[in-house]
Amino acid sequence: MSAVIIYTAVAIAQFMLVVAMAIAAVRMFRGPRAQDRIIGLDTIYINAMLLLVTFGIGTGRMIYFEAASVIGLLGFVSTVALAKFLMRGEVIE
C-alpha cells in the first residue's frame, strides 16, 4: 500500500516537473530578450535538479543526490557568468 502511494506520487511529481521544464523551455526559445532566456535556463536546471531527487526517491538510491548537487553548483556558476556577460560584455576582465 505504501509503495503504491509513493510510486504514484513520484510519477505525478515527475510529470509536473517535466511540464515545468517544457514551459521554461518555451519561454527560453520565445523570450524577447537575452535576460528572459537566462532565467529560462535557470528554471530548467532547478527543475532538472528536483527531477533527479524525485527519481532518487522513486528508485530508493542515494546516488542521485550527488548528481543533483553537482547540477546545482554548476548551474549557479553558469547563471552568474551569463549575468556578468550581459552586464559587462565579457566574463573575465
Binding site: M1, S2, A3, I5, I6, Y7, T8, A9, V10, I12, A13, Q14, M16, L17, V19, A20, M21, I23, A24, V26, R27, P32, R33, A34, Q35, D36, I38, I39, G40, D42, T43, I46, N47, M49, L50, V53, T54, G56, I57, T59, G60, R61, M62, F65, A68, S69, G72, L73, F76, T79, V80, A83, K84, L86, M87
Partner: protein, 132 residues
C-alpha cells in the same frame, strides 16, 4: 544500497507523497507564472516559487523517505536546500541589475527609474506621507 518503498509505514508514505506533490506543484506554478507574466521585471518573481518551497518540499520528502527507509538520520539534503536558498537571490539580483543596465542604455519604455533624476522630479519630503 537500495531502500525499497514497501518497508515504510502508511503515515510516513503519506507524508512523503504530500511533500513531493507540494514541491512539484509549486515548481509547476512558478513555471506557468514565468510563461504568462507580461514584463521581464514581473517574470523575475515567478521562478522563485520553485526555488523556495519547490526545493523545500522535495528535499523534505527525500529526507523523510531516506530517514525512515534506512532507519538512521539522513539530512544531507539540507546541503542542497541551503545552497539554493542562498544562491537564488544572488543570481536574480545580478540578472535584474544586468537587465536594468541594458534597458537604460537602450532607453526602452517601462524601465523602473532611478532617483535622484533631477531637483524637480525628486520626491519632496512634505509630499511623502512616510516621513513625518
Amino acid at each position: 544500497m537500495i531502500y525499497p518503498a514497501s518497508d515504510l509505514s502508511l503515515p510516513i508514505a503519506l507524508a512523503v507523497a504530500f511533500f513531493l506533490l507540494l514541491g512539484a506543484a509549486l515548481a509547476l506554478i512558478g513555471a506557468i507564472g514565468f510563461l504568462r507574466l507580461p514584463t521581464f521585471y514581473e517574470r523575475l518573481h515567478a521562478p522563485a516559487l520553485g526555488t523556495s518551497w519547490g526545493i523545500g518540499g522535495i528535499m523534505l520528502a527525500s529526507m523523510i523517505y531516506f530517514t525512515a527507509a534506512s532507519s538512521s538520520l539522513v539530512v544531507h539534503e539540507i546541503l542542497i536546500g541551503t545552497f539554493v536558498t542562498f544562491t537564488t537571490p544572488i543570481t536574480f539580483m545580478l540578472l535584474a541589475r544586468a537587465a536594468l543596465h541594458r534597458d537604460r542604455t537602450a532607453r526602452s519604455h517601462g524601465v523602473p527609474r532611478k532617483y535622484p533624476i533631477g531637483p524637480e522630479e525628486r520626491p519632496r519630503k512634505d509630499d511623502d506621507p512616510q516621513a513625518s
